[in-house]
Symmetry: C2
């Protein structure tokens, strides 16, 4: 019982911290730092337009989500129940867990966005006073999401576990864990909308705003005369805050479920062992809280190092704390699949994930920051034009896959040695051990970015803008690191889910027909082999869909901006206000409509393959998607980040600076990179995880009905 | 014996046809169609410069190849011999077969290039008389390579087989086939140099020539004032003729070896069954000869349809002929791995490969020809700039992977059903059944392309240039189809080799330790799983290397062209001749030096993984590379083709035509596409096949010494 109390307390602590920080941000008056009433009004107006835009998008998205949740809950309830046996427990509870997971994920995203839109304007205003004040507000706003999200995730998982074990006291531990996976599925389903929809929203606005504003009309970025500029700012919140949050919420919930499913049989008798995966996230709460106290920023130079220090401190604290927690919570010796493991081994698994996360982060920074040679080479390639810039950026992205993949391989091999597939799930959780801090920094980024935009739009002046630019630049680097984490954890999470799927299918098949499936996922089996090909092709098809969605939506946006420039007199002179809402509406519509096809692809493929061709073929698809999608996600994300920073490097005055042909070439790369790094790349995380958790949740269906074409 | 006589006769026929066609081309005087002596001189000069440039590249490449062949032969001879058993037969004969395969492949490439450089100038001159004459010369030049290459491949395989079975009359059939695989390895090793080196050569020249000539200096393509223009033309021969030839020679030799290894035990008692894989290529000779008689071109409109008709006629004839040949040659009933199959089943395997090839070709055309909507959408995306053009082109490439992968899956599933992995190897041979015709058309393309360049450079006039443009345009479409074939056959060939590798490893392991490996290539095995990740990452890393090589070499080229424009007075007025050879030397150096790293990567990875981590890990690597590399190759090749044709579509006067901003944006896409479609994309074919055949050839080494880190 102590472990339950401990987890619940930390979850509560996390939520209390989130509330406290949120209050601290919102208690600051929006126009607090304004020099005069006019400036205050302008700050309030911009804040309101962004916040309202974000809310209007969310409201429309919630409608779509509501329909999806209801329909899919029914599908789960119907398909998962097994008519052949009396084991009628699974369908409805899984559906309920799923709906609950959706709601918690939505709530976490909502809080994150509320907090970000409250923080951005206050950061801009505070930048008038001091960099340290502005930094603190931006960080607090990010931390609200971090603590709220993890607190909610832990509570959610705990509630599902406790409800199930109380309502069905005789439930088999592995059936219980399987039902819990529904919660993870809910988290990832919402992430699908948030990541893909949010990614399309933000990049349609960004690309559209840039191409007409910067390139055609020659007005600066974030200029209030650009009708798409607010949509762009809304997009930062929608895509980077809510999208990233939902993505990582999914990773956290899913890798917890995966670990619990794989460990279900082994830890049936040990409550602390059973709940150890949740405990990892819970321990992250005090660790992150302590870390937050270490952060102090006095001058501009401190900002970047402060953020990185947070990552390192939290990693170290987590590594120390988890040694004792693991030794206490996990039984000294246990068995999975007939192999003996130890609690110390489990700790090594966790540690390898934690360290692999850090390595991936560092490498991502190396490849995407203009402090290092790769990005500078891309910038230099711009001197011979856009084409060489694009070739160099793509090559950089491809190159950058090598070391992260090796880090991931090591964080598979070590855990496998120490605790089999359970170890891999623990490594995934280890990588997410510093989740609150990662989320804090991830949230900090768009808040600072937005603050800069608001400073520009409200005309706070050059020096304020420079200050917010320092905040933003530091955020950009850490955003790249955050993306690396997100991909790395998505790969490990999917792998853990994949293992959980096969473990569970094996158990059910042995129950049903005496022969399992674990020994039959052979590479030379035609079902596995052809599945691999389909799986490898899916990430490309999915990326094509999301990239095309951005391209098309950006074109609509361009036409609307051009129309407004013509139709609204005085817009260029600054005497008339553009119709910001029309641009927000275009991004909203695009985000909602164009999510349907890619969403259908990644939901229907695993269900269809499992139903038509059975578990072996599905295993092939999952493995193919996992390896190919993982690599493609890293490449896309890093190419995009490198193009972005190559442009910024030139804008800092290098290689001729702004306005040169070199700069123009770099802007092309940056624009190509936008959908890469913020839409198709991160959406691949969802592709990997959602396919895997769908397979896990629908295992009973596949076991009973799957493979009708190969019988 | 009859089957040997039959194969030998067809091989001889093939070579006689090649000699006859070569004579027919070279008997035409180079300056035959020239209006005056000056024009004749100019034609001869350009011809000589291109032909000498190609030869100078080949000579330097031969030196590198000679060293490689010697060193690698020694490695094979030493590593493959098994000191633990008395089975000392394999090492040296395999090394000899390897060296022989290298030499035959080099010879085939040499003939192809000789013929292409002889044909291009004569095609240009003949275009002055009539389109039909020009078409015939271009086609004949291509057919020389087609017939010569297939004839040599068949002879080579037959000689290796007969020598081995006569020198070692007691040799086990499967050891014999394993030794034969050395021949395939030789073919693919040369393809590595030809494809990667040739691809770097041609695109460094092309990109360099375009960026300075077209973009900076504003002179047209193929303008003789551009110092890199001859290098560009040499590159067409080096990359598109010799590269494609060596690539397909490799596919043909390797899939034959793969089929013979897999069928070795089953057909030990049937000579015609054993040699059936070679017989397939041999039957292609009369089929292609008959097809050639059907081709007549009278007007410009006939050209494109004539080429496509050739593909269809040869496919139909092959399908009919092979029905009878298969029923005769393959035993009515046979067993592989304990499963019963029939000769009719084998025919279905062949047919499915043949048809899948055609489907892939058609789909490739749909995605890369500007007659259809995908390319037109890319062209339209250029209206909003280079960035949207790039996004649209990349998305198109990603989309275009879906149907070819499904076609490949079907051509795996059907053969698997009818004849297991042997069937897959036969399907690969089926896809290559129309190899002579494919090669003819592949060779025709660069000859026509060069003819256009020569017409421009010698100032033959607008109407002649238009005529060669018609020939070239038809060649471009079929080149895209040819690339589709090449990738498709590379995937099936690698898969067949992969199966042969595991079949052979299984046999040897059972011999050695009583336990095979076929049942242990499980997706959840950590070695297989981590191998998959490495394999999936390799194509990206390899593409990055080749793309970067092109980018860097192009920069050197750009600097040299700029230097010449400044240093040589009168160059722009046409009164001074640029130093063409300097540009050829730059491309040559780049091609030789920058091939080393990617070559080392794909040779050392399978050897290193097999040695350090053993056969299971290697199987994972091969499978990962196969699925991920196959998909990436299709995407790269089609994106590149689409950008090229989107630009051509605009140049035909659509969307504003040449000189507009839209056109400039499309030129960026075309330039990015150059290394995609002609370097990194096609080089992936080699990555797939070479890794797989290396694994097959080195099986004895891996069985005896492999996996030292996991023992």
């Amino acid at each position: 019982m102590f472990v339950i109390v401990l987890i619940a307390s930390f979850a509560a602590l996390s939520i209390i911290v989130a509330i406290f920080l949120a209050k601290r941000v919102t208690n600051i008056p929006i126009d607090g730092g304004a020099s005069n009433e006019e400036e205050g009004k302008r700050l309030k107006f911009i804040h309101k337009t962004i916040a309202d835009g974000a809310m209007s998008f969310l409201k429309q998205e919630y409608k779509v989500m509501a329909i999806f949740i209801i329909v899919f809950s029914v599908i789960i309830a119907v398909l998962i129940d097994d008519p052949h046996t009396e084991n009628l427990i699974e369908g409805i509870p899984t559906a309920v867990a799923f709906a609950f997971g959706c709601l918690i994920s939505i709530l976490a995203g909502f809080i994150g966005m509320k907090s970000a839109t409250a923080g951005n304007v206050r950061t801009a205003a505070a930048a008038k006073t001091s960099i340290s004040k502005a930094f603190n507000i931006a960080l607090d706003s990010g931390a609200v999401m971090g603590f709220a999200l993890v607190g909610l995730a832990i509570f959610g998982l705990l509630i599902v576990y406790l409800s199930l074990s109380n309502i069905y006291p005789d439930i088999n531990n592995h059936v219980l864990m399987e039902v819990m996976a529904g919660f993870g599925l809910g988290g990832s389903s919402i992430a699908l909308f948030a990541r893909v929809g949010g990614g399309i929203f933000t990049k349609a606005a960004d690309v559209g705003a840039d191409l007409v504003g910067k390139v055609e009309a020659g007005i600066p970025e974030d200029d209030p005369r650009n009708p798409a500029v607010i949509a762009d700012n809304v997009g930062d919140n929608v895509g980077d805050v809510a999208g990233m949050g939902a993505d990582l919420f999914g990773s956290c919930a899913e890798s917890t479920c995966a670990a619990m499913v794989i460990g279900a049989v082994a830890f049936a008798a040990s409550l602390s062992g059973s709940l150890y995966p949740i405990l990892i996230s819970a321990i992250g709460v005090p660790v992150s809280l302590v870390t937050m106290f270490f952060v102090k920023v006095k001058t501009e130079e401190d900002v970047a190092s402060a953020l990185k220090r947070m990552l390192i401190i939290s990693t170290v604290l987590m590594a120390i704390a988890m040694y004792f927690v693991t030794r206490w919570a996990v039984p000294e010796n246990f068995e999975i699949g007939g192999k003996p493991f130890t609690s110390l081994g489990v700790y090594w698994c966790l540690l390898s994930g934690l360290i692999a996360g850090l390595i991936i982060g560092v490498i991502t920074e190396f490849y995407t920051s203009h402090d290092f040679s790769p990005v500078r080479n891309v910038a230099r390639a711009s001197e011979t034009g856009a084409a060489t810039n694009i070739i160099a950026g793509l090559a950089l992205g491809y190159y950058s896959t090598a070391i992260p993949i090796i880090a991931i391989i090591i964080s598979i091999a070590i855990p496998f040695y120490f605790a089999g597939m359970y170890g891999v799930a623990i490594a995934a959780l280890g990588m997410l051990g510093t989740l609150i801090i990662s989320l804090t920094i991830d949230g900090y980024g768009p808040v600072s970015d937005n603050a800069g935009g608001i400073a520009e739009m409200t005309g706070l002046g050059e020096d304020i803008r420079n200050r917010t630019d320092v905040l933003d630049a530091a955020g950009n680097t850490t955003a790249a690191i955050g993306k690396g984490y997100a991909i790395g954890s998505a790969i490990l999470t999917s792998l853990a889910l994949f293992a959980a799927f096969l473990t569970r299918a094996d158990l059910l098949l042995i129950e049903k027909q005496g022969v399992g499936v674990l020994e039959n996922i052979n590479l030379l089996d035609p079902l596995v082999l052809t599945g691999l090909f389909v799986g490898a092709m899916l990430p490309f098809l999915f990326s094509a869909m999301t990239m095309e969605a951005v391209g098309k939506a950006a074109m609509e946006m361009i036409e609307e901006v051009r129309r407004q420039f013509k139709a609204i007199p005085g817009i260029m002179e600054g005497t008339a206000t553009p119709d910001y809402n029309q641009c927000i509406a275009i991004s909203t519509q695009a985000a909602l409509k164009k999510t349907i096809a890619p969403a259908a692809l990644i939901i229907l493929t695993p269900l269809g393959v499992g139903f038509l061709f059975g578990i072996q073929a599905l295993a092939g698809v999952l493995a193919g998607s996992l390896v190919c999608g993982g690599v493609l996600a890293i490449a896309s994300s890093n190419s995009g980040g490198a193009w972005d920073n190559a442009k910024k490097y030139i804008e800092k005055g290098n290689l001729g600076g702004k306005g040169t042909e070199t700069h123009k070439a770099a802007v092309v790369g940056d624009t190509v990179g936008d959908p890469f790094k913020d839409t198709s790349g991160p959406s691949l995380n969802i592709l990997l995880k959602l396919q895997a958790i769908l397979s896990l949740v629908f295992v009973p269906f596949f076991v009973n009905w799957g493979g009708i074409l190969v019988w």
